[in-house]
């Protein structure tokens, strides 16, 4: 029955290649359905405010207006995407209740016969907002007296009762006391929008059998389905999500934002509902990569060995945490680097501010940590007068070395990878570096 396994080692045509070059691939927004309504969102024009009222009366008079949805229409309005893997508390609002926490936050969904009518109706919704002080910097958000962003009163995500994700190995202060040099660095990165060419969107279609088919370009199909079931308080088997064709994502389409409200709208109107972000929503409302601030303090010996490393990192989660708590955990596990350092202390904070929420983007948590880490490694090389290759070979993990989170390295390949990389770029390494391997350290080299 089974075909021979003969694909490895061959170049195989992509199954969607013909569709892509002919334009026959159907992306979410290419679909249309009879009677389809268009959903456009009323959004907060300010960064932080008390929401005292929503006046829909002028919007309702726009020809083509069908209905609007506000927080009270959403069965389970407060959710958190990662509750599926046990993350709490539920903190994000499908539609704003009494407060808006970032510019662009969703307040009311307007449904209309055409997109133009929906946009016109949105422009006629009057909001009664009392603006509040806002905070946009991670360290300012942690100072006493800073505006409080979350509904429960803290501007940090709590990790098992701690305001940060902590990693500890050895005694970092004792390491600093022994070190010949202390090398410090602070590294800042800006938010980055994933900017897929196809914007985030979905179409929710009520079926005659009581189920809802949701065509979506999500990167996280089952995450979206399960969260939609929770938010709408319906069994998952009433939802049929159709995805897989994604016009670029890069992490920007893993949050569950458009499907719950579009599906609710389809339920309430019994009509197909299209909710596709405009380019400005994609850029200014959808999650970005977090802004980061990362402090390094390293204790280094004259011979180049790093004997102590302290890292304090702050990721700007924006108004809601989405995937950022997970990002920080990955960050804390990786920011020490692929280097054997006997004393390490890492504090990684997921901080709430009034910026647009941040979330996943390619290697999130790790990429920005690697940037800071490797610039710091170059800085150390300069201080001790070694070249950037040598400092990395000297400190590279070898099998058996303890990582900062106290797991021994078992599959170390950094030394071999650097040797191969040097060969590929035509960089001649000195003989002693070429002779090194990831084999466990001998006692003579010990001390790690």
């Amino acid at each position: 029955m089974s075909a021979p396994l003969n694909v490895v080692g061959r170049s195989v045509d992509r199954s969607d290649g013909i569709g892509h070059v002919t334009g026959r691939t159907l992306y979410t927004g290419d679909r249309t359905f009879p009677g389809m309504l268009h959903l456009r969102m009323v959004r907060s024009p300010v960064h932080h405010a008390r929401l005292r009222g929503i006046d829909l009366s002028a919007a309702e008079r726009v020809p083509g207006f069908v209905r609007a949805l506000t927080a009270g229409d959403v069965p389970h309005n407060r959710y958190t995407i990662l509750s599926l893997i046990g993350v709490e508390p539920e903190e994000e609002f499908v539609l704003a209740e009494d407060r808006v926490r970032f510019k662009g936050e969703a307040i009311a969904a307007v449904l209309a016969e055409t997109e133009e009518a929906a946009l016109e109706a949105v422009s006629k919704v009057r909001l009664d907002l009392e603006e509040l002080p806002a905070v946009f910097d991670v360290e300012e958000a942690l100072r006493p007296g800073a505006p409080v962003v979350t509904h429960w009163g803290s501007n940090t995500f709590m990790y098992e009762g701690h305001p940060c994700r902590r990693v500890r190995l050895g005694d970092v202060e004792a390491g600093f006391a022994q070190a010949d040099h202390i090398v410090e660095g602070v590294y800042n990165t800006s938010p980055i929008e994933q900017a897929p060419i196809e914007t985030t969107g979905c179409i929710a279609v009520p079926e005659a059998n009581g189920r809802y088919t949701v065509y979506t370009n999500t990167q996280a199909l089952y995450f979206s389905l399960d969260n939609t079931a929770i938010i709408l308080q319906v069994p998952g088997n009433r939802l049929h999500f159709v995805g897989g064709t994604v016009g670029g994502g890069f992490g920007g389409k893993v949050d569950v934002i458009v499907e719950p409200i579009a599906t609710l709208a389809a339920m309430r109107t019994n009509r197909p509902v299209r909710y596709v972000y405009s380019r400005s929503e994609e850029m200014q409302v959808s999650s970005t990569r977090s802004a980061w601030r990362i402090y390094f303090k390293d204790g280094v010996m004259n011979d180049g060995r790093i004997i102590a490393r302290k890292v304090t990192s702050y990721a700007d989660s924006g108004a809601y945490s989405r995937q950022t708590p997970y990002s920080l955990t990955k960050h804390a596990a990786n920011v020490g680097g692929p280097y054997a350092i006997p004393n390490v202390s890492i504090d990684a904070y997921c901080v709430y501010t009034n910026r647009q929420p941040s979330s996943a983007m390619r290697g999130f948590g790790v990429t920005m940590g690697s940037f800071a880490l490797e610039v710091q490694m170059d800085k150390i090389a300069e201080v001790v007068g070694l070249d950037p290759w040598t400092i990395r070979f000297l400190n590279a993990y070898r099998n058996g070395d303890l990582k900062p989170h106290r797991k021994p390295a078992e599959d170390a390949t950094l030394i071999e990878t650097m040797q191969a990389a040097a060969a590929l770029v035509g960089h001649e390494l000195p003989a002693e570096l070429l002779a090194m391997t990831s084999a466990p350290r001998t006692d003579r080299e010990g001390g790690r």
């Binding site: 070059v21 334009g23 159907l26 994933q194 380019r279």
Partner: protein
């Protein structure tokens, strides 16, 4: 504002649409004519995914009121695709894996067609220059530039119009 009737050629057929003033060619192609190969990345002239040809010249259909194409010939990816097989530009994109998510591909192919119709032997520099208005976020531009070069060679070798 009253709607008007606009007539234009789409490939080799004449189409007639009724539109409100300032309706874009993109909206007509996608919404009224079901021609969804023309993509919708930004609707503000910033990404190139909606590129079509009007009388052979590349235009951003998201910025062009359809009244402006009255009596003119519009070429979209659908009209370039042979009934069997692929156009040499499409074949070159397929062979070079010059796409990843595919969303920018229709615009890239249309721009390549406009370029090669006008300049059958462009160098790499010219190809890169021609593609600057079309944004790809996945693959990177190298395989796309290579594909356009390969397509130019194939078209000059007389493969034009030959189903492959």
């Amino acid at each position: 504002m009253a709607s008007t009737i606009v007539t234009f050629e789409l490939g080799d057929r004449e189409v007639e649409v009724m539109v409100r003033p300032l309706t874009t060619l993109q909206a007509v192609l996608r919404g009224q004519l079901g021609a969804t190969a023309t993509k919708e990345g930004c609707r503000q002239g910033g990404c190139g995914s909606c590129t079509v040809l009007v009388d052979g010249a590349p235009v951003l259909s998201c910025l062009l009121p359809v009244e402006d194409v009255a009596g003119r010939r519009v070429t979209t990816l659908e009209t370039v695709t042979p009934s069997e097989g692929l156009h040499p530009i499409q074949q070159a994109f397929l062979d070079a894996n010059a796409y990843q998510c595919g969303y920018c591909t229709p615009g890239m192919v249309m721009l390549a067609k406009a370029l090669l119709d006008h300049d059958p032997d462009p160098g790499e520099e010219t190809i890169a220059q021609a593609l600057t208005g079309n944004v790809c976020r996945c693959t990177g531009y190298r395989p796309i530039i290579e594909a356009v070069g390969t397509a130019a060679d194939a078209l000059r070798d007389g493969d034009a119009g030959q189903p492959r």
